[in-house]
Subunit: 575 residues, 2 copies
């Protein structure tokens, strides 16, 4: 078995750390009883371990390919899609009126992590489809919802997001794809989109593209962008609809997932939401998609550390001390790597689930504070989850030594596959800018509320011998509060230079919160792992927050030529 679902971690986090009981206590999510949660997570674990995990290497060795204008996916992906669709997993958190199960996003996030850990290149297809379901539920009119949602939930159609164009990446507002009204309520779309994940496949009856485009009279920039749904084939006739995959990228990893260049040539589409409301609609969807991508990083990190753990337990190299394992588990530096990987993944997983719980509580109760908390945590969950994915995949390689560099072991694939997660769905730099920009636009209310929650945990009366952990965490919380006030006091235009470090500092302290709560609730190995986190991971909060307060003067003191190396030898002027 190459992947085992971390059910014990989910149980601990849901029960003791992220207060899932508050979600289950709402009327909206009353069905999320402990029995149901157990069934869902157990079922997803079996699916991930038995059906999806065997596809991880297959997807790498048999990349998706384009032949005759159609995408051919790796062997076994079709059957896996049917298993996911027939199990109802695509509609886990979709509304019952869409054909879904109406369960909390928190459970969907656990399921996404397991599927992503088992086979990332495949899981991106279900994740995109779930994102499209959510976008349509919020923004499509009833007729369009009735047409498309049942087909997405059943897995008859796969859903994609079409944002990027060559000149419009992070700056989505610069896109040029045109949409012209036909007069019968439909539109004709023309333009080119790039880097479209799962832009086509050979196992669903149709593909439903959500496409950002401009109406002829639209203003320039982000406010002129509208959102359209464009099926690959006409829903009624099945005839081709003027959308073509014209190329697939050759990527560093994620070979099983086709990354397409799409050509739209008068393709028929329906508007989703209002004219000029495209970015707003897309952002609703993207916020949760960002959490989903953070969770992809965590899933891959979990799988990578499991591979490294098995290697370490089997590999004998060099004499270890008396009473220690004869395998390399007996070497302190190897133990350090394994322990840090587990501590990091647990922290990232706790942050992701805390974000999901806030989303669910906001959905169930309309509580503005929970909405704000979800908004605050989302960029942190995305950036820290994916950074952890990359970091842990790298540490896992170090544990395995030279074997990790040989592709047949699968160790390198984790790094190659997960590497894109820090980039797509908004680079982690964009997440940091979101945190210090849009998410601080409330004057810091959401941040301060979160800080209070962190602080109150450190003030709880001590239980289970966690005094030292609490002391370490309390100092970090106060340091974080100081840096947060400093960031709030900084002019919004001058926050960029410290943004990434600020986000990192937040993630570090949130991770301490996760570990502290778990240690207090369960003691034992949880407390031991919390101690590893407090000693080896949490200290980074202080260096990161020092950088967060450094401002950006140092960055603009270097001139463009010296920084970029363009127009003159780098730093030559100094010689």
């Amino acid at each position: 078995m190459t992947y085992r679902a971390p059910l014990a971690d989910f149980h601990c986090l849901l029960t003791h750390v992220v207060d899932f009981a508050a979600v289950a206590a709402t009327e909206r999510f009353a069905e999320a009883t402990p029995d149901t949660v157990g069934d869902i997570l157990g079922g997803a674990a079996r699916l991930s371990e038995e059906v999806l995990a065997p596809l991880q290497r297959v997807g790498d060795l048999h990349p998706a390919r384009l032949e005759g204008g159609r995408v051919h996916t790796p062997p076994g992906f079709d059957a896996a899609w049917r298993a996911v669709a027939d199990g109802g997993w695509l509609g886990l958190s979709a509304r019952p009126e869409s054909g879904g199960m109406g369960l909390p996003v928190t459970l969907a996030v656990c399921v996404q992590e397991m599927m992503a850990g088992a086979c990332l290149s495949f899981q991106l297809g279900p994740l995109l489809t779930q994102g499209q379901i959510e976008a349509l539920e919020h923004h499509a009119d009833p007729a369009l919802r009735a047409l498309v949602l049942p087909r997405l939930v059943s897995g008859d159609w796969l859903g994609t997001m079409n944002l990027t164009e060559p000149q419009a990446g992070s700056d989505v507002g610069a896109l040029r794809t045109r949409a012209e009204a036909v007069g019968d309520g439909t539109y004709r779309l023309t333009g080119q989109k790039i880097w479209i994940s799962w832009g086509d496949n050979d196992f669903t009856a149709n593909v439903s593209h959500l496409v950002l485009a401009r109406l002829p009279d639209a203003p320039p920039g982000p406010r002129g962008i509208s959102l359209f749904l464009v099926p690959r084939d006409h829903p009624d006739t099945g005839a081709p609809n003027g959308v073509q995959v014209v190329g697939l990228e050759e990527k560093m990893g994620l070979h099983g997932s086709p990354t397409a260049t799409m050509a739209y040539d008068g393709a028929v589409g329906w508007m989703v939401g209002a004219p000029g409301g495209g970015l707003r609609a897309m952002f609703t969807m993207m916020n949760n998609a960002r959490l989903g991508v953070g969770v992809q990083g965590i899933g891959q990190a979990e799988a990578a550390l499991q591979l490294a753990g098995r290697h370490a337990a089997d590999r004998v190299q060099g004499a270890t001390g008396p009473g220690r394992s004869a395998s390399i588990l007996g070497h302190a530096d190897v133990r350090r790597m394994l322990a840090v990987m587990r501590a990091e993944v647990f922290a990232a997983r706790g942050i992701a689930l805390a974000t999901a719980v806030a989303i669910d509580r906001a959905t169930a109760t309309g509580c503005a504070a929970q909405t704000a908390r979800a908004g605050w945590l989302t960029p942190i969950a995305k950036a820290f989850g994916t950074d952890t994915g990359v970091d842990v995949a790298g540490i896992a390689m170090q544990v395995q030594g030279g074997a990790a560099y040989v592709e047949a072991t699968g160790a390198a694939q984790y790094l190659r596959d997960v590497r894109v997660t820090t980039i797509y769905e908004g680079t982690n730099g964009i997440q940091a800018m979101d945190l210090v920009g849009r998410k601080l636009a409330d004057g810091g209310a959401a941040a301060r509320a979160m800080l209070e929650a962190l602080r109150s945990e450190t003030l709880r009366s001590e239980t289970g011998g966690t005094d030292a952990l609490s002391t370490a965490q309390a100092a970090a919380v106060e340091r974080l509060a100081h840096a947060t006030e400093a960031m709030i006091a900084t002019d919004a235009d001058a926050r960029g230079g410290g943004a990434a470090a600020f986000l990192r500092g937040w993630a570090r302290v949130l991770g301490g919160h996760v570990h502290l709560r778990a240690a207090r609730a369960e003691g034992g190995a949880r407390a031991a792992l919390a101690r590893v986190y407090m000693q080896r991971c949490l200290p980074e909060a202080f260096s990161a927050l020092a950088e967060a307060e450094a401002g950006e003067d140092d960055l603009f003191a270097l001139d463009d030529a010296a920084l970029s190396g363009v127009a003159g030898a780098p730093l030559a002027g100094a010689a």
Copy 2:
């Protein structure tokens, strides 16, 4: 042009930071005048930029392959080898009696960095050959030296190192390859070696393997290992010598470099050094090879940041502030990434050159203090140089966004290629164990001497407005001194848990020293970059050194099953 040699950096570092003048002032290296240095570095820059850099993508797209028992190298590698050999670069630091130029290792290190930055998979061949030249100069008898050295220096032969066997990786002492004396002064070697870089090629007349093996009566473990030279073909007859490449690895990167499994079946060899002296001889060579691998990381980091810099200067995305570049150079977070990359590479380069200068001074004068300094700095230069390679290649990808994940841009290749450098020539974990083990076996004398040099720089009277830089560095030096005394006071068997963090803390403070000296000497952009380092990189010293002092109790409080995930669900006992 895809790669530009960082000549201004070399000039600054050699002149103002690492005191190359002390090398040039010795009788041994009196020929290393400023004019000679300029000629050498300029020539290597042209060779790297014009001949080697165009091969970087070629090697990735046309991997070395095995056909009919022989290795075929990528197109153009043969001509590049001739250019390197004919330019005399293989013998740059070889002794004149070997046919070399007898120049300082410091210059060889600069040349290695440029070649590695231009094309890593190719440069590994020259690097290994230079390592073999050095090993033979120190340990081979006159007859063997006369036979082999001129051929290696001229590039007629390529040299390799054969250490690893499936059961003997980091634990070289576990190897099983046998060597039996024939009675005529030669030996017959039988066994299998794996992961042999450049195990064969199709452009040199012969290949000279340095092979670790055991004599029949040798004691078990490291003391029973001897070193042998085994040519692929008999030097006299040219007939095959019982050495076969039986497979090449499919690797994450470095595709241009053949990584071979070698089968020895009664191959004729000559002993190098004394019976049982194999590891000692190999370690002489490996110490400098470790510096060479650290420099590979730096070269790749330089190339990766140059690619990112060109991308950033060209790419327009999103509105930037007034008076700022319209390209993404105008965004503070992009500037942060570019500035940190440059600051990191400059620090790592300075540490590598300081190591090389200590080696040269020790060689020239026999000074024990310089030998000790070289020994202390070598594992730091290896680990920090290669960690910087991986980190910077990753940051460079973030700057380039989605384009970086598309192989055609070359951004991902830097990460794939450099990724092996933290693993081979002793993993970075092994480097850390070397630092707190063998290198502290002197009771801390070398470390304390280095600390004194760091401290005295911070006590120098201020020049050039570097007061704030000096203050930051002084605090870090004192923190480092504290952690170093704590490590010295720790039982040698209990240092492993803090070893990696200890090494990292040392690298961080050494990097501060490099930047402080450069800033004081040149001011301007050097001082601006030093400020970036002090604000954004140096603070990590404090978190790393806190971890270094954490000991290892936390690591052994977790049981093996919880750490490895083997035999029971991870941390399940806690639930």
